[in-house]
Symmetry: C2
Subunit: 149 residues, 2 copies
């Protein structure tokens, strides 16, 4: 129903939405198999590099402050993250991975990368590079936060 552009078999908007749908499904399935929800998995992945404050995490994950509080609450209850008082600001906390959270984050991340890489298994290496380059430009142009490294 979407009007196709020049030489498009599937319109780009349709392709984008279905790709997002696919990625979300793969991500959710991987998370479920690692015993976390997709949102928890995303939080863990974002924290792999280093702890982050709530005011950095919120915008990065696209969440309202109360939503992030709940997500961190549930993840902390699981023993995956912990709140660490910020020594330089009495109001702030840093959210850090616990040891078991870090271990889970690493296996979840690696497994998810493998599954996602497999999605494009039918494309040649050149095509994958080209696809990555085009998507990277879209992502950069729209200033998407660094939700997956």
């Amino acid at each position: 129903m979407v009007r196709a552009g020049d030489d498009e078999k599937m319109p780009m908007v349709t392709a984008l939405v279905r790709t997002a749908f696919l990625v979300d499904a793969v991500y959710a399935q991987a998370a479920r198999e690692h015993g976390v929800t997709a949102q928890q998995g995303q939080l863990l992945c974002v924290l792999m590099a280093h702890p982050l404050g709530m005011s950095d995490l919120g915008p990065m994950l696209g969440l309202a402050k109360s939503s992030l509080t709940g997500l961190v609450d549930r993840s902390a209850r699981r023993g995956l993250v912990e709140r660490v008082p910020d020594p330089s600001d009495g109001r702030a906390v840093q959210v850090a991975l616990t040891a078991s959270g870090a271990a889970l984050a690493e296996t979840f991340y690696d497994d998810t990368c493998a599954r996602l890489a497999e999605l494009a298994g039918r494309l040649s290496g050149t095509e994958r590079g080209r696809l990555a380059g085009l998507l990277a430009r879209v992502v950069e142009a729209n200033e998407v936060p660094a939700v997956f490294d």
Copy 2:
């Protein structure tokens, strides 16, 4: 952190995840502005072509049966869809858009298409065609349901 392939500035897996994140955010924002949730918007779009049975909708939307029941309940409560008994099978119902649901679906769909099309505004027409072609092949190879037409 993801290992880049040949001549990739951003690894493909990272580009895929961030693109999905971006599309989800745009879709959720459009839905919110049209007064529905992203899930409800997706249901409405899928029903634009014609009514569907629950057993077709579930797999198409990637939902468990009880989840779909709830989504249809909430959408019906909003007056957007209705359950119609299937004349050929007393067990089954067809879910159809109401008049107001159809109107909302159309404006939401058109608006969402415009916003998503704009995401790739920085790419040339040729590049958009190329991106659509590559994504279409990934989507087809992974048998993604027709969640957006």
